[in-house]
């Protein structure tokens, strides 16, 4: 089943990799199981004691343990293998599904498995008593399953399938409370925005597949690292198109607009979506195709870098002005995704994936923490929170850990990954981007501190009775905060660089900078900016006055408006793209259809019948039939008078008859 090129490819890489044995061969279980579970939950979930949640939970726990086993074997022995199933041939192309087991996919399995498990546990409690509880778990399981389809994909085809399945699951989950129109609209927005990006991905896949004559990723990577001429001509185009796809899922500017709206879904969904699934897909795609980018499409990487940097700064700024706690986190996610993409664009493969790895844990932590808060105070708005650190100590402490990790302070996870990105930028000599990224780190620290201060410090401004959440919700928080602390230790320059080895399955072909020790400039500037951000926020929101008027102090009207309106992007989209298409074009086409085409058709019909009429009246009727008609008209006129004699009375008829008989008899008798 293993492709010959792939074996060669491995031989050029790290020959000590094993094929993974039975464990790798049965990896398909973790991909298929969620779908089976989803079917079971749909049909039988209602009859189970936990309404189907236990099936979902069992599935993700299985995924978690299986991926942990895989990760253990990979970390000790190394695995690289891929499996294919032919599902049809079309022309000379084989359509194949399958699964790939290598460092990158194992890392993703583990992230998905871990985060999903914790989120699912959390959700069993969080969603208690909510509408469509069972269906929620169906979708959630499908969501995790779709992500696994995506990351396990050895062919671009399966990647595309997983990609879109993730999109549709997000549609189901974001629109979970579809009774309200905003929610279903948000779901639609997510789906359509992703679909637009998917067009890029789809065309990119088509371009690559047709130039390499295969849909297998490993084969494409092999060709792109071995100077095949066909792929070289389309590499730049293909690279950009794939990145457009990644921009949709990974919410890069200007296609990030769906992500903040996606907060309409329940909080566990946001956590899962923003941490482990969906948004990481784009970064995963860049990582998976990284040898291609580096080998053939290095110009495309410049575009990737540019958009990454724009996103990390732009989204970070918007996060500062949000009042909705979940939206702060959402924009923070966009900003962090910007970091990852920046890393990829600058050629720092490991750094990008490392940030994905750490971010998955602390962002899941933050979202679940936010969910816990929202569950307690029944509002999303920070202006109605405050002072919750006393009522919700566990949530508070874990949230603080997440915040610090995100702000990038040692020794928590965010510090190491962010530092590696900065170091890489510094090393590559992208000075401007380096400065912007450092600025981004400052902004990150600022808005996170602002959020913490508004939520947990000061006095409670709402009018409910907040309370600490159930154990089922706090335990995942605690576990995740553990991960948020230690996840970064997987790759400490100069100390332990296991993570680099995990994800570097094709060592020789990923030419990247691996800091042997800490890059002092980067570390210093990152650390300073983080601390500065925290300090400034603390000064503005806590030291000088209370939290509520903190915003007023930093409000510079025009910029604030710009940010509050999210750079008028939504406005622009609606005004210049969606409305024209949905209303103007569509109405035009519809009226064209009924007023031009149909009118033409009907006109032809009417004209034909008129022409027929003319031929009929003038030629047929006027000429030939005229003579005949005259006689018939005569008959008709007379008949119309004569018919009056007809009364329908039998006796009268008989009388007329007899009169006739008499007259005729008389004539015969007298005249003849």
């Amino acid at each position: 089943m293993v492709n010959q090129n792939f074996i060669n490819f491995l031989a050029e890489g790290q020959p000590e990799y094993t094929d993974g044995g039975v464990l790798a061969e049965f990896t398909w279980l973790i991909v298929v199981l969620p779908f089976l579970a989803a079917i079971l939950i749909t049909f039988f979930g209602k009859y189970l004691p936990l309404q189907g949640a236990e099936l979902a939970l069992g599935t993700v726990l299985f995924i978690f343990s299986y991926s942990a086993a895989l990760l253990y074997q990979h970390a000790t022995k190394g695995i690289a293998n891929e499996f294919f199933i032919n599902v049809g041939s079309i022309g000379s192309y084989d359509l194949e599904f399958g699964w790939v087991v290598d460092g990158l996919s194992i890392m993703m399995y583990f992230v998905v498995g871990t985060v999903s498990s914790l989120v699912f546990i959390y959700a069993t409690n969080y969603m208690q008593g909510e509408i469509r509880y069972t269906f929620f778990f169906t979708s959630l399981t499908l969501f995790a399953g779709s992500m696994l389809v995506l990351v396990s994909s050895p062919t671009l085809l399966q990647l595309l399938i997983g990609w879109e399945l993730v999109g549709v699951c997000s549609y189901l989950l974001i629109g979970h409370y579809w009774e309200k129109k905003e929610n279903s609209s948000a779901a639609m927005k997510a789906f359509i925005t992703n679909k637009i990006a998917d067009v890029g991905l789809m065309i990119g896949i088509i371009v690559l597949a047709l130039s390499t004559k295969t849909l297998r990723i490993s084969e494409i990577l092999y060709q792109s690292t071995h100077d095949y001429a066909d792929i070289k001509t389309v590499a730049y185009l293909g690279g950009v198109l794939l990145f457009i796809g990644a921009m949709g899922k990974s919410a890069q500017f200007p296609l990030h607009v769906w992500l903040p709206d996606a907060m309409a879904g329940p909080t566990p969904v946001s956590a899962l979506m923003h941490a482990a699934t969906m948004v990481t897909a784009g970064v995963y795609l860049l990582g998976r195709m990284f040898p291609f980018y580096q080998g053939m499409a290095s110009q495309a990487l410049d575009i990737v870098l540019l958009f990454g940097v724009i996103t990390l700064l732009g989204a970070g700024l918007v996060a500062v002005v949000q009042d909705d706690l979940k939206k702060v986190l959402a924009y923070s996610t966009v900003s962090q995704l910007g970091y990852m993409v920046t890393a990829m664009g600058s050629g720092a493969y490991t750094a990008g994936l490392f940030h994905l790895w750490t971010h998955a844990f602390f962002k899941a932590l933050l979202f679940l923490g936010a969910g816990s808060v929202i569950h307690a105070v029944h509002t999303n708005n920070m202006s109605e929170m405050g002072g919750l650190r006393k009522e919700m100590p566990r949530t508070f402490s874990t949230f603080i850990i997440g915040t610090v990790a995100l702000a990038g302070l040692p020794p928590l996870a965010g510090f190491f990954s962010k530092d590696e990105i900065l170091a890489s930028l510094n090393h590559e000599g992208h000075n401007l981007y380096f400065i912007i990224s450092v600025l981004g780190a400052f902004i990150t620290a600022f808005y996170m501190t602002r959020a913490v201060l508004l939520t947990f410090f000061g006095d409670y401004r709402g009018d409910g009775h907040p309370h600490e959440s159930d154990k089922m919700m706090t335990i995942p928080l605690i576990i995740l905060s553990g991960f948020a602390i230690v996840a970064g230790w997987a790759n400490i320059p100069g100390v332990y660089t296991g993570f680099t080895k995990w994800v570097t399955t094709r060592k020789n072909y990923i030419v990247e900078y691996h800091p042997e020790s800490f890059d002092l400039v980067a570390m210093f500037s990152g650390l300073t900016s983080g601390l500065l951000g925290i300090g400034l926020a603390y000064y503005v929101y806590q030291m000088s006055g209370n939290a509520t008027d903190g915003d007023e102090k930093i409000k510079i009207k025009p910029i604030w408006n710009l940010l509050e309106n999210k750079y008028y992007l939504d406005f622009f989209y609606f005004k210049f793209i969606i409305d024209p298409v949905k209303i103007t074009f569509a109405k035009f086409v519809d009226s064209f259809n009924s007023n031009v085409l149909d009118r033409f058709v009907n006109g032809v019909g009417t004209t034909a019948s008129k022409a027929g009429g003319i031929v009929y009246t003038n030629l047929d009727q006027g000429g030939i039939d005229k003579v005949l008609n005259l006689s018939s008209t005569g008959t008709d006129t007379i008949g119309s008078k004569v018919k009056l004699i007809q009364t329908g009375k039998t006796q009268q008829y008989l009388m007329y008859f007899l009169i006739g008989v008499i007259v005729i008899s008389l004539i015969i008798l007298l005249v003849l």
Binding site: Q646, G648, T650, Y653
Partner: protein
């Protein structure tokens, strides 16, 4: 007995029947008048039979047939009248003008 009075009487009976058909409103009465006409024909047949001293008795046999057919006719005619009466609630033939154009 000469033949002339018989034939004239039959003709008179025939004319009376015609009058009845033309004048009567009730469908049953019209049927009665028809019987008169048929009877006049019977008289003619039997009279001619007697006059011609027919060996094969054609006249008598025909009158028997006529009587038979007349019986059938009365049966059907009354059934039709009954039908019409049932549908129209009247036996007045003036109201049956279905044969109008």
């Amino acid at each position: 007995m000469s033949i002339q009075p018989l034939l004239i009487a039959a003709a008179a009976l025939f004319s009376i029947g015609i009058y009845g058909i033309l004048v009567r409103r009730n469908a049953v009465m019209v049927l009665l008048s028809i019987e008169l006409i048929l009877n006049s024909v019977n008289i003619n047949f039997v009279a001619f039979n007697a006059m011609l001293s027919d060996v094969f008795l054609n006249g008598q046999i025909f009158s028997i047939f006529i009587i038979t057919i007349a019986a059938a006719e009365v049966g059907i005619g009354l059934a039709i009248v009954l039908m019409l009466f049932r549908n129209r609630e009247t036996a007045n033939i003036n109201e049956f003008d279905l044969m109008k154009w």
